[in-house]
């Protein structure tokens, strides 16, 4: 336990402590560490003087630079809006054909639209706009509420079955659940609808059911979907004769749809997006599948 005991490797003095064989050297704190300690303290003190730092009861030391993060953010927002104003104004006041004819403006639409669509629409319609089960594909030329830019803008703005007072409303009744049709009529109508997009289904064995289904269809479904079953865009009723299905085009799903009805939902965006952003999105969505010209 001699205080003068030295470590043979480093030549340093030992402290004389010994814990279960563990000893300690009495090495002085290296100068570099002290210097580094002083530097970090100088940085801290400087920041305390320059920026808001210490509480004083109900207020705090404001710092001589007068930094305030809330003011900074507000200023940045104002500056950013001013920067953007040059082209957002132009988009707001121009009509769609003018914008579509202006290659420079369409460049802005495509670059801005990509991010707007990704952050607002992609969750349901997919980042490529191709939709998925229960959510419509926006890249084809099959439109529920019309595919010209003006109508797309209207849909984005008010939504479908949304909270907006001017919302587009579309509801397919629950023919089975609400006992509007007996079960066999539901199945007959489903057989007819299925045959429209599956010509090979119209075999002699099925012809009778399909014909009976057609009667049910004309009496119950044609009001919305049209006598030719090609849908009506003013009431948001889909075309039933093509290969494109929102909820699925197999016989079982069609039965489920007629039995339980359908009520899709798209939020209203006019409170969340600016008029210019809605216009950009409409043009962007239109350009995804070259829309409905």
């Amino acid at each position: 336990m001699s205080v003068e005991e030295r470590d043979p490797v480093s030549g340093e003095r030992l402290t004389g402590h010994d814990w279960n064989g563990i000893k300690e050297l009495d090495t002085p704190i290296p100068r570099g560490v002290l210097l580094f300690l002083i530097v970090t303290h100088i940085i801290a003190f400087a920041l305390w003087v320059l920026t808001p730092a210490w509480p004083l009861g109900k207020s705090y030391t404001p710092g001589i630079l007068g930094i305030d993060q809330k003011k900074a953010v507000e200023e940045q927002l104002v500056a950013s809006a001013a920067d953007k104003a040059t082209w957002t104004k132009k988009i707001e006041v121009s009509d769609f054909p003018t914008i579509q004819a202006d290659e420079r403006m369409m460049l802005i639409v495509r670059s801005t639209g990509h991010q707007l669509f990704g952050d607002n629409c992609a969750a349901c319609h997919g980042s490529d706009g191709k939709g998925r089960a229960n959510y419509p594909d926006l890249t084809d030329d099959d439109w529920l509420w019309g595919g010209d830019v003006q109508r797309i803008a209207e849909t984005v703005s008010v939504g479908v079955n949304s909270a907006n007072a001017g919302s587009r409303i579309a509801e397919m009744p629950r023919f089975g659940v609400d006992q509007m049709l007996p079960r066999e009529d539901v199945e007959k109508a489903a057989n007819f609808v299925f045959s429209l997009s599956n010509p090979q289904f119209s075999q002699p064995a099925n012809v009778e059911t399909i014909a009976a289904g057609r009667e049910v269809f004309l009496a119950n479904c044609a009001t919305c979907h049209g006598e030719d079953a090609r849908g009506k865009q003013d009431v948001g009723a889909p075309n039933l004769t093509d290969e494109r299905w929102i909820y699925g085009g197999d016989l079982d799903t069609i039965i489920t749809t007629i039995h339980g009805g359908r009520r899709g939902h798209m939020p209203t965006w006019d409170q969340r997006l600016t008029p210019a952003e809605i216009k950009i999105l409409a043009l962007y969505v239109h350009s995804l599948g070259e829309g409905d010209s």
Partner: protein, 546 residues
């Protein structure tokens, strides 16, 4: 284990187990229409199993006073095994959630297996299950050896260890059931939190009692750190978890802290959980097992003093750097940032003290994978404390916050520092505890070392890359002053890194499984080696009379 308890302790143990069972039954009845029912039944079952174990050994011969001439290592052995079981469980959950981020279908569409419920089972499993058991076990070992005093009784240490594991079980099972108070790293609900307070206060009292019986004139540095860990975690846990349950029959509770104060208290807790659980406690481990394994004196006692007081003082102020650019007032953010900067020097001083202790033992580092674990741990400790101070600087944080960089930083610390120092300590401790000449297979330690190091590096590099890419994508603007990328674009860009991260984690998990196997085989090996020196100071005998 019951055979090492005295008659009085057996009686007390039985009484405590029955009391736990009754509390469980009461919770189950009060909460029969709530998810609390399942936890009540779990606590009841746990209490009954403990009662059965105590009763089964109740009539065994009571230990004589000769037990006092040996350290009390039974709970330490159990703690090491518990820690490794939790490690394998927690790391498996980590690999699973990491894989879900790359392949979301691995959530299997069940409510309990989504990322939101599995993630806290991973964090609790590794931090509290693995880390906590490792800290309890090694602290019991270190405090006895460096005080040359035996634990004052047999029951307290078992109460701490078993009670702590019951807490972890309630916590983890609760997350799967959807029971959470939604505070990160403090998700467990009020009844589990109250139980942990009882366990933790017992731990603190036990530690103080052991130190009070020490036969050394001074208290060793490792014990300073362990004591700071135990004391501060108690304060953090109690303050952050102050909450009012909906009723005694509901699992759900509401915190007493409102709004931004709640956020501040939570991150004061969260950051100091990193400081005092994941840093201070493991520095205690490093301060004992590294010099023992290296057979070198600590580089500088003075540096130890500077680091200890620097770390304990500065860390307390740094938590607000988790809330930069939020509703938290500017001045609180400045304080958090500046104290984080000042914290760097004491942190680096401890990492440097550890590495310089290896001077004169570098040939051992080269040849001995166990010592290499501890050396690399000190390097990662230095690396992640530098990174932490750097990320606490507001402008840097504006890039790194909410990105995978944070996850990378945490895992540089958790894998590279916390887990590696634990593995190194366990490989040193296990042969001593079970009185074996060495570990069953040095080759497997070597394998474990390279798997763990490769896993950590792959993980951390993947997250650095993905985090910085994310941060940059979120702030890239087009010429028109609008964002260039949507969030989904940045998510798609993360995919290769998520795959790499899951792979790195898998390597680390395989290493942990090898470690568990190696420990179990060491216990089974017949290669006994008695050490006559590993006993308490003879004077301890007289004091510890019954």
């Amino acid at each position: 284990m019951i055979s090492t308890l005295t008659r009085t302790e057996r009686f007390l143990a039985l009484w405590i187990s029955m009391a736990v069972s009754i509390c469980g039954l009461a919770l189950a009845i009060a909460g029969r229409e709530d998810p609390l029912l399942i936890h009540g039944l779990l606590i009841l079952l746990f209490g009954l199993v403990c009662s059965y174990i105590v009763m089964f050994g109740y009539e065994e011969k009571a230990p004589g006073t000769e037990r006092l001439s040996l350290y009390y290592d039974e709970p330490i052995k159990a703690g090491v095994i518990f820690a490794m079981i939790w490690a394998v469980f927690g790391m498996f959950m980590g690999v699973w959630v990491a894989a879900q981020l790359a392949w979301p279908d691995l959530a299997f569409d069940a409510p309990w297996s989504g990322l939101g419920r599995l993630r806290p089972t991973h964090t609790t499993g590794v931090i509290f299950g693995f880390g906590g058991n490792a800290l309890i076990a090694t602290s019991f070992h270190v405090v006895q050896r460096t005080s040359r005093a035996r634990l004052p009784d047999q029951l307290s240490s078992w109460f701490v260890l078993v009670g702590y594991n019951m807490y972890c079980l309630i916590a983890v099972s609760g997350y799967l059931l959807g029971i959470t108070q939604s505070k990160e790293y403090a998700e467990s609900e009020w009844y589990a939190d109250i139980w942990l307070v009882l366990v933790w206060v017992t731990y603190f009292v036990l530690y103080i009692r052991t130190l009070a019986r020490r036969k050394e004139p001074h208290i060793y540095v490792a014990n300073w750190y362990f004591l700071a860990f135990i004391l501060v975690v108690a304060i953090l846990h109690i303050v952050n978890n102050l909450a009012v349950p909906v009723s005694l029959g509901h699992a759900k509770s509401y915190t007493v802290w409102p709004g931004v104060q709640d956020a501040m208290v939570q991150w004061w807790y969260g950051h100091n959980a990193v400081a005092f659980f994941l840093t201070s406690g493991f520095l205690g481990m490093l301060y004992y097992y590294l010099p023992v394994r290296a057979q070198r004196p600590i580089f500088s006692y003075r540096l130890s003093i500077l680091s200890f007081w620097g770390i304990t003082f500065f860390y307390m102020w740094a938590g607000s750097h988790h809330l930069h650019y939020t509703a938290l007032p500017d001045w609180v953010q400045t304080l958090g940032m500046t104290f984080s900067i000042m914290l760097l020097v004491p942190s680096w001083a401890s990492a440097g003290n550890a590495l310089l202790t290896l001077n004169g033992a570098w040939h051992r580092v080269r040849d001995d994978a166990t010592l290499r674990f501890m050396m690399i741990a000190a390097v990662f400790y230095g690396l992640s404390t530098f990174e932490g101070s750097f990320m606490a600087i507001r402008p840097v944080n504006s890039l790194s916050h909410y990105t995978d960089w944070t996850i990378g930083h945490v895992h540089a610390g958790a894998l590279g520092w916390v887990a590696l120092i634990t593995f190194g300590s366990f490989y040193t401790l296990v042969p001593v505890l079970w009185k074996r000449r060495q570990m069953y297979s040095p080759a497997l330690i070597e394998w474990h070392f390279w798997l763990a190091l490769a896993g950590t590096l792959i993980y951390v590099f993947a997250m650095w890359n993905s985090g910085i890419i994310q941060g940059l994508m979120w702030r890239t603007y087009t010429e028109e002053d609008t964002l260039a990328y949507s969030f989904v674009d940045s998510l798609k860009a993360m995919w290769p890194y998520y795959v790499a991260r899951a792979f790195g984690g898998l390597l680390f998990l395989i290493g942990a499984i090898i470690c568990l196997y190696n420990i179990l085989m060491t216990i089974r090996s017949p290669d006994k080696a008695e050490s006559r020196d590993d006993v308490p100071h003879p004077a301890d005998l007289a004091l510890a009379g019954e």
